[in-house]
Amino acid sequence: MRRSRQLLALRHRHPAQKETEITPSAEAPPVSVQNVSKIYGRTAAVRDVSFTLAPARFYVLRGENGAGKSTLLRMIAGLNQPTQGDVRIFGHKTKDTRAHVGYMAHAPLLYDELSGMENLRFFGELYGIRSDDVLQKAMQRVGLDPALTRRVGQYSQGMRQRLSLARAIFHSPQLLLLDEPFSNVDPESSTQIAKLLADMRSAGNTILLVTHQLGLMAELADEFLVLSAGELVSQTSSRRTDA
């Protein structure tokens, strides 16, 4: 059931897709990272990392500060190019599958001078989404009131994080990349976000999340990937999956 839903979703061609943009193959893994390294000057931020993510699973990327987690996530999102190696999303280059990927960075990626809905309307247009209903639903899913006219600059840190998540999910991406979505979020909102992510995984989406808050993740994650000094040192199933 989950698989057929995913196949159906992948056949949908996004209106904002360029002529060259490819509808991703449902047979290919959502993420395939092969021998990827990222070198800045004389420093290797990521060294020869290889892994494959399966569909409809929740992955947590862990590691100490400076381990290369965010750099790796940015390469998967297509924001940075690997110095060596290859990243494929649903079997294609990252730039060809952008409509099917949601990305939430450590920074909120929002305009401070616009309200929440104004932000979502602008980003919605980039993905060919012009329906306010879709955008309002995304705001409601993260626990924000779409009628809020306050500018984002006046939002609390937690509200910004939630709006940033709404921006990453409003187009129902098959692959969701999240960098520290729980930072500066109060415990109640964290639980709400965790439930939303669990629902998305159940709906067939693949999630790769970078976090330090392992407490919440122990219940959600299917697998943990651990980076240390730029190298992938382990990829293990969670207790939840083992059970």
């Binding site: 924001l79 952008r98 990927v101 990305y103 990626l109 305009y111 001078e113 247009e125 060919g128």
Partner: protein
Amino acid sequence: MTNSLLRLIKANLAKDLRLEWRSRDVFNAMLFFALLVVVIFSFAFEPTTEESRRLAGGLFWVAFLFSTIVALNQSWARELRNGVLDAYRVSPAPAEALLLGKVVSNFIFVALLECLMVPLFILFYNLSSAGSIWQLAVILFLGTWALVINGTFFAAMSIRTRNRELMLPLLLLPVSIPAVTSMVGATTAVLTGDGSPLPQMKLLAVYCVVFTAASFALFDMVLNAE
């Protein structure tokens, strides 16, 4: 140009105009800079009417060139706050829509500034045109486009460098010399009535076409450069 590209350009333009309306970062910076240039030059020189006609073209375009530089840095800086440019880069929207939206919004800001500053130039320098006002309007249009298309492109190139305030003039000014020479020559020809401004206007039009095409061809690379 496809419908979806036009919609994206419109969305980018509307967003830029809304951000500017609420913050007034760009327009205020340009206005005060241009005002200062006009006032300081008018105190520094006391030209006769004839001298004014010969000098005004140069003063006018130099004031707008430097005002535009001040504005362009601001217009890209807001895309870096909160890392918001990354949200554009991960979207399927083409880079050209961002460039054209920003070029048109910057063009509107500079054109508005010109509407305010031209009467002041006439007042401070006691100007009257010996040539056609329509030719002057075409020169203003082409000159503004030349400044804005190049400026927006090079501002995007310099935005992620550490000394972007210094880097933009270093990149932009040498490339703008042919355009500035044509703008000043054509404006002076219209104001003084000495010779035809048409050759300079043609040169300016060619410059606009070449640099518009080059900016569009290269902008995707600039936007995604690390």
